[in-house]
Amino acid sequence: MRYRWFTGGWSWLLMRITGGLLILYLGLHIYVLHFLGKGGEEFDRLMVTMQQPIFKLLEVGLLGVVIYHSLNGIRILFIDFGRGALYHKKLFWFLMAIGAATFLVGAIPIFQHLTPLGGER
């Protein structure tokens, strides 16, 4: 099979890859959070582990994946239910700009162990 790699093709492939990553994460997320049923001490120990840099990095990665999948999903809605096919490339880059800004705003607090409001850790 031969593909012509333009905006539509890349965004389609990335949608599948991010979708696959997200369902893997959801399965893992549901599994890890079932430790809530084992009581506070065990859960808090688990949450301390999650503060390690590698998990912070994965968390930021997750944020990026979620933002891409959401925004490209919005683009797909415009194409399927509106007249998005006429301007889907422009729409893609417009949404990606919004996504990049959202990513920065969302990722910095995760790395700083802080929230946008500041305050205690």
Binding site: G19, G27, G37, M47, S70, G118, R121
Partner: protein, 117 residues
């Protein structure tokens, strides 16, 4: 044998994939904001307890889990149908996906529903 692909409710799932996507977008926004950005600081058992002991939040998360699993598993199914042509393989894949989804849904349910202070 029944063909597990075109003409077997595909358009309905195509539509539901979009509807569930929109709902998930809103639920995910609420989920991210309430768990990661407000309240301030790290996630602790006490903070999860404060939310998840309320019936409204239990309902929120049951809907979230169900829709998330539907959307995700339907997504894998859509991809699988692009690469797997034989209906016997499709049948096996669909079966495995449904079983995996059901197990994860039950695991989520036994976490969310009985959780109390």
């Amino acid at each position: 044998m029944r063909d597990y692909g075109f003409g077997s409710g595909g358009a309905f799932h195509w539509f539901l994939q979009r509807v569930s996507g929109v709902v998930l977008f809103i639920l995910l926004l609420v989920h991210f904001l309430t768990t990661h950005y407000f309240p301030v600081g790290d996630i602790t058992y006490q903070k999860v307890l404060a939310r998840l002991s309320q019936p409204g939040w239990k309902l929120f998360y049951m809907v979230f889990i169900a829709l998330g699993l539907y959307h995700g598993i339907n997504g894998i199914w859509i991809i699988a149908q692009d690469y797997v042509a034989r209906s016997s393989w499709r049948f096996i894949i669909l079966g495995l996906l449904m079983v995996a989804g059901l197990i994860l849904f039950m695991l989520g349910s036994i976490t969310v529903i009985p959780f109390k202070a």
